[in-house]
Symmetry: C2
Subunit: 199 residues, 2 copies
Amino acid sequence: MSTPDRLIEATRELLWERGYVGTSPKAIQQHAGVGQGSMYHHFPGKSGLALAAIRRTADELRAAADRSLDGPGTAYERIAAYLLREREVLRGCPVGRLTMDPDVMASDELRAPVEETIGRLRSRLTEIVREGVDRGEFDRAVVPGEVASTIVATVQGGYVLARASGSTAAFDAGVRGLLSLLAPRGAGRCAPADATPSV
Amino acid sequence: MSTPDRLIEATRELLWERGYVGTSPKAIQQHAGVGQGSMYHHFPGKSGLALAAIRRTADELRAAADRSLDGPGTAYERIAAYLLREREVLRGCPVGRLTMDPDVMASDELRAPVEETIGRLRSRLTEIVREGVDRGEFDRAVVPGEVASTIVATVQGGYVLARASGSTAAFDAGVRGLLSLLAPRGAGRCAPADATPSV
DNA sequence: GTCTATAATCGGATAGAC
DNA sequence: GTCTATCCGATTATAGAC
């Protein structure tokens, strides 16, 4: 791995673990096994390096989400795949945690990839929920943008519950609860009634 | 307000705004309008002061939640009251955000009030959801602990969405989505069927 | 109780040798 | 490209005067 790559990867790890304010250039250098001068040769400073790291993390996260959401299956199945995909739950969301970092939010450049990643995720889920409503999978009263927001929020909040309790079980519980509320006519939830839209 | 109180209040503000790692003793002193020596006279140091601040914030949060959850009304109505209660959404959750703070989580003392606050909230909501299931407000397939976790997660995640997008609308959307999924037989969602439990 | 002085370490970076 | 030296302010205190 090239020196710039090692620096970016080290920064990604530290941003995930300690956030931007909690990450020092020295810690990055040590993690990367790279000297002081070397870091400042390849990057303009802490924030420039953080920008590269955040962009890479955001790209990976989006790709991972798309792998679940663009898969085959019903809307419910794709949403379930997204919710149940493997995660390092106790480490938190490497993008979502940045929203609580004051220095990240104070910088237009650093905030942009965070904003875009979460925004796109909500948009994509909105489409899928709308599809589910159109196909009669979900109740006609469901507002796609709202339920999409609930889905993303449950994941982001699930990380908080897991870290607060020190156990991934809390994350899983939240996800299962949401899936049970979303489930199309599962286990006696709703009478089948008129599954296909009448108009 | 007494000097210790001013220090605690200043610390609460800064912990909320910048987290533990992002908050320096000097910043606390300036915010409180208190000198260096004065702070170290009343408190053993940054972490001791943070402990007092976190405990006070946790107590207030619990009290605020209880005001909604212990009110009158059906289970759904009390949950809705909790979800819709006034919040400074764009500032994030003053307790939840601490779960992403590495130094807080690394300290047993500092982590304890965070863990307890979120744990109690989940427990209390679990009782209420169970009540709702028993009374036939919610589907019998609902697992109280799971849906309670979903509720707390939606709130915690709602803060993330709001901060990521720079707008409280994202929080509100997530909450409305959840309420629509929880709604007992609302607006054509489920056929009324057998509302009162048959046994 | 509050203030000022002092201090060791860290944070974030620049300069220039190699 | 990488390394070491250097810099200046911030961090997190402690000591002792008032």
